[in-house]
C-alpha cells in the first residue's frame, strides 16, 4: 500500500478514476455482448499494458469467449538494436481462423503498434477483426486505423496507471493519471 502511495505522488492529476473506468468497461462489455451474440468471439490482448483492461472487460461480456495474449517488442526496447524490426515476443497460442477476433488495447496513440498487429492478425484469416481500446489519444495519431470500441478519448498527456507504465512502473495504479513531467525529465 505504501508502495502505491509513493507511486501516486508522481501523478499530477487523476484523469480517470477507478469508478469511471469500471463504468465504461461495463458499458463496453454490454455493447460487445450485444454485437457478438451468436458468434464465436476471441479476445486478443496485447501485453503488458492491456492486462487489467482485458481482465475487467472479459468479465463484463456475457457471451462464451476465448482469450489469447500477444506481446510484441517496442521501439527502443532491448531488441531494437539487434533486429531493427518489431518482434513477436509471444504469439497467439491457438488458431484464429474463422474466429471473430476483438483486439483489446489499453491505449492507442501513434497507431504504429496497432497497425502492425492488425496486419499480422489479418494474415491469420479470422472471420472478422475489430479493435477495442480503453483509451484513445487521437492527437498523437500517426497512422489512422478505424477503432470500433473506444472507452475514453484523452488529451495529449503522458498517462500511466491501470496497466500503463513509465519505465515498467505505475501499472498497478487503479486509476489512470497524468505523470508529472518532472518524473520523466529527471531521468533524461
Amino acid at each position: 500500500m505504501s508502495h502505491t502511495a509513493d507511486l501516486e505522488h508522481d501523478i499530477g492529476e487523476v484523469l480517470l478514476s477507478e469508478e469511471q473506468i469500471a463504468a465504461k468497461t461495463a458499458e463496453l462489455g454490454a455493447r460487445i455482448s450485444e454485437d457478438y451474440a451468436g458468434r464465436s468471439l476471441t479476445l486478443v490482448s496485447v501485453l503488458k499494458g492491456s492486462l487489467p483492461f482485458m481482465a475487467d472487460l472479459m468479465r463484463q461480456i456475457t457471451l462464451p469467449l476465448r482469450i489469447d495474449l500477444m506481446e510484441v517488442s517496442s521501439y527502443g526496447g532491448a531488441t531494437t538494436e539487434s533486429s531493427g524490426l518489431v518482434r513477436i515476443m509471444k504469439d497467439l497460442s491457438a488458431s484464429i481462423v474463422g474466429e471473430d477476433v476483438l483486439l483489446v488495447e489499453d491505449i492507442i496513440d501513434t497507431g504504429l503498434t496497432l497497425n502492425y498487429l492488425v496486419r499480422y492478425l489479418r494474415g491469420k484469416n479470422p472471420a472478422s477483426l475489430k479493435i477495442c481500446t480503453l483509451l484513445d489519444k487521437p492527437a498523437r495519431r500517426l497512422v489512422d486505423i478505424p477503432v470500433d470500441y473506444v472507452g475514453f478519448e484523452i488529451p495529449d498527456q503522458f498517462v500511466v496507471g491501470y496497466g500503463l507504465d513509465y519505465g515498467e512502473q505505475y501499472r498497478n495504479l487503479r486509476f489512470v493519471g497524468v505523470l508529472r513531467p518532472e518524473v520523466y525529465t529527471a531521468h533524461e
Partner: protein
C-alpha cells in the same frame, strides 16, 4: 505485411530527428518516402515559384505526409504559415505536423527521451549532400551509409532545413514539379497533377503569401 520495395540506400536526412523517425517507421514496418514531393506555395506575378514546401515524409499506405519540426514552439511560426498555405492550395492532401513536443512525447513513449536534446532544434541539423535522385520507398531497414551515420553523431552547423523560404535548388520553377521518373507510377501521376502550374497562371495571393504572418498560431 506490405510488399517490400527494394531500397536503394538511405536518403541523406536533413536532420537527425528525421533519421530517428525513419528508424521508428522501419521498426513498425511502415513504408515511407523521404521528401518525395515539393509543393509550390507562392508564385510571383510571372508565375515563377518563389516559395515551396517539401514535407519530410510520405506514408503511401496511409496517403499521409508528415512534417517534423523540432524547433521550439515559438520558432515554428514560419512553418505553420507554410503549412496553412499548403492546406489552402492543396486541400486534398493529408499532412500531419509533428512539433518538438510531439517528437519529445514520441521519444518518451519509446523510452528514448534522453535523445531528445541531441535530436532537436539546430543541434540536430545538418546539411549533408542530397542527391536529387536519391529517393525511394523504404520497407525494410538496412545499414545506413556513412553520411547518415554522421548525422547520428549530430553535426551542428546551425543551418536551415529542407524547406526553402526563397527560391532554391528544389524549386527552380514549374519544371521542378515534374515527378521524379524513379517514383512509382501511381504516386507520380497523382502528385504531378498538383504540382504543374503553367507559367503566368499565378494563384490569388502570389506575393503576399511569402510575407511572414505575425498572427500565425500553432496548428
Amino acid at each position: 505485411m506490405t510488399d517490400p520495395v527494394p531500397a536503394t540506400g538511405r536518403p541523406a536526412f536533413a536532420h537527425a530527428s528525421e533519421a530517428e523517425l525513419a528508424r521508428i517507421l522501419d521498426f513498425y514496418d511502415v513504408r515511407w518516402a523521404y521528401e518525395p514531393d515539393t509543393f509550390p506555395i507562392a508564385w510571383n506575378l510571372d508565375g515563377d515559384v518563389i516559395e515551396s514546401f517539401s514535407p519530410d515524409f510520405y506514408l503511401p499506405d496511409f496517403e499521409l505526409y508528415v512534417e517534423l519540426t523540432t524547433l521550439k514552439q515559438k520558432l515554428v511560426r514560419k512553418k505553420n504559415r507554410k503549412l496553412r498555405r499548403l492546406r489552402e492550395l492543396y486541400p486534398d492532401i493529408r499532412i500531419k505536423l509533428f512539433y518538438a513536443r510531439d517528437f519529445r512525447m514520441l521519444l518518451l513513449k519509446f523510452g528514448r527521451l534522453a535523445l531528445h536534446e541531441e535530436l532537436s532544434g539546430t543541434t540536430g541539423q545538418s546539411t549533408p549532400p542530397r542527391p536529387a535522385a536519391e529517393e525511394s520507398f523504404h520497407a525494410t531497414p538496412g545499414h545506413e551509409p556513412a553520411h547518415v551515420a554522421a548525422l547520428d553523431a549530430i553535426a551542428d552547423d546551425g543551418t536551415a532545413g529542407a524547406d526553402d523560404e526563397v527560391p532554391g535548388p528544389l524549386d527552380p520553377g514549374v519544371g521542378a514539379a515534374v515527378p521524379d521518373a524513379t517514383r512509382r507510377e501511381g504516386r507520380g501521376r497523382r502528385r504531378g497533377k498538383r504540382r504543374r502550374r503553367p507559367a503566368g497562371q499565378a494563384p490569388a495571393i502570389p506575393v503576399e503569401a511569402a510575407r511572414p504572418d505575425p498572427g500565425a498560431q500553432p496548428a
